[in-house]
């Protein structure tokens, strides 16, 4: 069941309507059943994995609470990591690593042939695994008291708005919300929730899905597309993935607000970033924060020598790349960003730039454009089917091959750019993702119509699954 489906349009109002008729414990039961149903619609066979992950993390939390001996605590925590990363590693990375190992072994003449299992990837496994791990990390580090309610914990892990594509929840912020009574959203909050849902649907249907065919066409046949057409393809992908993922996050946050739950922001106008460092404070924020707190900092962060900091940055981004998918292209994508972050830290004051400093047209336009171009080059590796395909794609752009550009692609890209710029500029200026609800009724009406009309026009095409579902 995807957020832009008819099923979800029926499912959410029914859940919300019943939810507010119930008391807290019953609300949690409803959320758990609804969340498992939501997940089961994708593939009920993987519900077992979700339950194993939940049960393991809950039990580990309780064991950590009653164990004082640090060595035993470490052992318990390590067991939790093995189970979580074991599930993730087996389902997501087995075929990748065995394939790479086989290739390396054959290269060395060792004749190794581990079995390739062609394992089906459970939807959202990377998200809910990291979700649960944030809890065990925090309990282990004594930043969080473990919960005694398996029900609350199970709802925290499986909460349907964020289950399959985030934002990746933080136990410290979210778990307490399921353990206390929730206030019914007032009219203003309801409006903001609905605004986020409408905005998210617009980004998904009228931006991401509208651009998808042109991206598929450019990356599917780079050899026969003009260089300009390939550039349009990259820009289109940059907006597609932003619209797709930010759209999902908006619907998730809007749905959660209707249920009285506050989810963290996941995107904060990333393409208006002036540096790569700022980009990572604005793009997939929940993952960036997770990697910072549970990987970069434990590795040593910036507490050691300069080179140790660069190594930690690089390792964090390489693993962040691999988190996205079991392919060399994602590792390279992470590596490019890691390298750029290290370079920025070494050679400029960019890394120290305050991401909250207001965006200024005169001084910030050029750095923003340059950052966007760099991000787009890295996107080629993210989107291409293989490393060599990405190199060929960039090579074909550099060859300056003549030819025309699909006028529909150019038109859709222009319209999508204008729409995203408008939305992001308003949000940047107001520091509010739902600032539009404060506009005058007439302006709001025009804005809503400008969202609804393209949703109608671009609805009902070939279904394009949310890109991040496969991560």
């Amino acid at each position: 069941m995807t957020f832009n489906s008819l099923q979800y349009a029926l499912f959410l109002p029914v859940v919300v309507a019943i939810y507010w008729q119930l008391r807290r414990r019953a609300q949690n039961w409803l959320l758990l059943v609804a969340s498992y149903f939501f997940y089961g619609v994708f593939d009920w066979r993987f519900l077992g994995l979700l339950m194993i992950s939940t049960g393991t993390d809950y039990t580990v939390g309780r064991l950590l609470e009653v164990t004082e001996d640090e060595r035993r605590r470490k052992l318990v925590f390590t067991c939790s990591l093995i189970v979580n990363l074991g599930i993730l590693g087996f389902f997501k990375y087995w075929d990748f690593f065995t394939g790479e190992a086989t290739r390396l072994a054959n290269h060395l003449g060792l004749g190794l042939s581990p079995p390739v299992l062609k394992i089906l990837l459970p939807v959202g496994i990377s998200f809910y695994t990291f979700h649960g791990m944030s809890y065990t990390f925090d309990v282990y580090r004594r930043h969080l008291k473990p919960t005694h309610s398996l029900l609350s914990f199970a709802v925290f892990v499986a909460f349907f708005p964020q289950l399959v594509a985030g934002p990746i929840g933080r136990a410290q912020l979210q778990l307490p919300q399921f353990e206390r009574d929730r206030a019914r959203p007032d009219w203003d909050q309801t409006k903001r929730g609905l605004m986020l849902i409408l905005q998210g649907l617009f980004k998904k249907v009228a931006i991401a899905d509208a651009l998808a065919p042109f991206v598929t066409s450019a990356f599917g046949s780079p050899g026969t597309t003009s260089s300009l057409g390939l550039v349009v393809g990259v820009y289109a992908f940059a907006l597609q993935i932003y619209g797709d993922f930010a759209g999902y996050s908006d619907v998730a946050r809007g749905s959660a607000i209707l249920l009285g739950i506050d989810l963290p922001e996941n995107f904060n106008q990333p393409y208006l970033s002036r540096t790569i460092t700022e980009f990572w404070r604005r793009w997939h924020i929940s993952l960036s924060n997770w990697l910072r707190d549970y990987l970069y900092v434990p590795l040593g962060g910036n507490r050691g020598s300069q080179w140790a900091t660069y190594r930690n940055l690089m390792l964090t981004m390489l693993i962040g790349g691999l988190w996205h998918g079991a392919a060399l292209t994602f590792v390279v994508w992470g590596g490019i960003h890691g390298l750029l972050l290290a370079v920025e830290r070494r050679f400029s004051k960019a890394a120290k730039l305050d991401a909250n400093r207001p965006w200024n047209l005169r001084t910030d336009l050029l750095p923003t454009l340059i950052t966007f171009q760099i991000v787009c080059v890295a996107w080629v590796f993210f989107r291409a089917n293989s490393f060599s395909a990405a190199i060929h794609y960039l090579g074909d752009i550099a060859r300056l091959r003549g030819g025309s550009v699909d006028p529909n692609a150019a038109f859709t890209l222009l319209y999508a750019t204008a729409a995203m710029l408008l939305i992001d500029s308003v949000q940047r200026k107001t520091h509010d993702h739902t600032a539009f609800v404060n506009w005058s009724p007439a302006t709001r009406g025009v804005f809503y119509a400008a969202l609804v009309l393209p949703i109608v026009v671009f609805s009902g095409g070939t279904p394009v699954p949310f890109i991040y579902f496969r991560f």
Partner: protein, 337 residues
């Protein structure tokens, strides 16, 4: 109560504006609909055009005649006008072949559209080894798109709730119906119809596709590799396609039509392009000969013509389409009355 009015106003005004904008958009689309290209409900423009032609012929009473059923091999390779002239028949003649169709697709098309609308008295079913090959990726994709199209799903009573709602939306709102066209501003600006957009799909009033009629066979490596890499890739006689052919013939017979199965003429080059050459081709001929024998119907085939009749190794050009029409006219003339 004092605060209720402004809040109500704040809520209603935006909704009214959204409604007004949508109504304006609806009106604009209705006003310009006659100049917009029709939205596709079938998988290809050609099928959509033929469906409209068949409906019009049915309404005009042009039923009970001769119908040609096949893939592109008769779609481009049979001139219905030449057939009517050569046979001297007064029966309505129509080429209902569909480019790229495999035999499952052709059977559905025959059962749901051709038989109910045209009620043919004589049906000529044309096949080549390509339609019997179960491993042609292009044909498989074509069939997938055909069976996934809105028209097929509706007529098969196989729609999801969303598809039913979409259909009602299409009936009620022009904005909704034309939304896929509106996504294509280039097409709108050039006032082009899907038929003109896909320039190769050019359908005559009697249903013949004229795309290849003026082409002459050039034995190019590119065409050969296309045949080897797609049409005849991993050539294997598909039991599903053979069963669909038998089923198609049985359906036509049940409807009261007299059926002639035609193994379409090909070039020697075409036979040689099969992975095992003439061995594969002989196996194909044996399979369809068996189908004809089991159904006790007329069978015509096994002809190898020289390349002057062809646009490529398999598809006839205008000269070839007229020659085949003449042969079929001679064969069927006694039964045409």
């Amino acid at each position: 109560m004092a605060a209720a009015a402004p809040r109500k106003q704040r809520t209603i005004v935006p909704l009214v504006i959204v409604a007004i904008v949508l109504l304006l958009a609806e009106g604009l689309v209705r006003a310009t609909a006659s100049r917009l290209p029709p939205p596709l409900t079938w998988s290809t423009a050609e099928i959509q055009v033929k469906d409209a032609q068949i409906n019009a012929r049915s309404r005009a009473g042009l039923t009970g005649g001769v119908v040609f059923l096949s893939s592109s091999v008769l779609d481009v390779g049979l001139d219905p006008a030449a057939f009517a002239a050569d046979s001297g028949t007064r029966l309505p003649v129509y080429n209902a072949a569909v480019s790229g169709a495999n035999l499952e697709e052709l059977r559905w098309w025959t059962d749901h559209i051709v038989i109910p609308e045209l009620r043919p008295r004589i049906a000529v079913v044309g096949v080549s080894s390509r339609e019997i090959n179960g491993n042609d990726p292009q044909q498989t994709m074509g069939a997938h798109l055909f069976f996934a199209s809105a028209a097929v799903r509706h007529l098969s009573h196989d729609e999801t709730v969303w598809e039913v709602l979409e259909r009602y939306g299409d009936d009620v709102s022009y904005l909704f119906r034309y939304r896929k066209v509106l996504r294509d501003p280039d097409q709108i600006l050039h006032h082009s119809t899907p038929v003109q957009v896909q320039k190769l799909d050019f359908t005559s009033p009697l249903g013949q596709e004229l795309a290849l009629s003026l082409q002459h066979y050039h034995n190019t490596a590119a065409v050969d590799s296309l045949f080897q890499a797609t049409f005849l890739e991993h050539f294997e006689i598909s039991p599903t396609q053979v069963a669909s052919l038998a089923g198609l013939i049985a359906d036509l017979q049940r409807s009261g039509a007299q059926v002639l199965l035609v193994d379409v003429p090909v070039t020697q080059q075409y036979i040689d392009l099969h992975p095992a050459g003439s061995i594969d081709y002989a196996a194909y001929q044996l399979a369809i000969g068996q189908v004809a024998a089991n159904a006790d119907i007329g069978f015509m085939g096994g002809q190898i013509w020289n390349t002057s009749y062809f646009a490529d190794p398999l598809h006839l050009n205008e000269t070839g389409a007229q020659r085949l029409a003449g042969q079929l006219a001679t064969r069927l003339a006694p039964g045409l009355g």
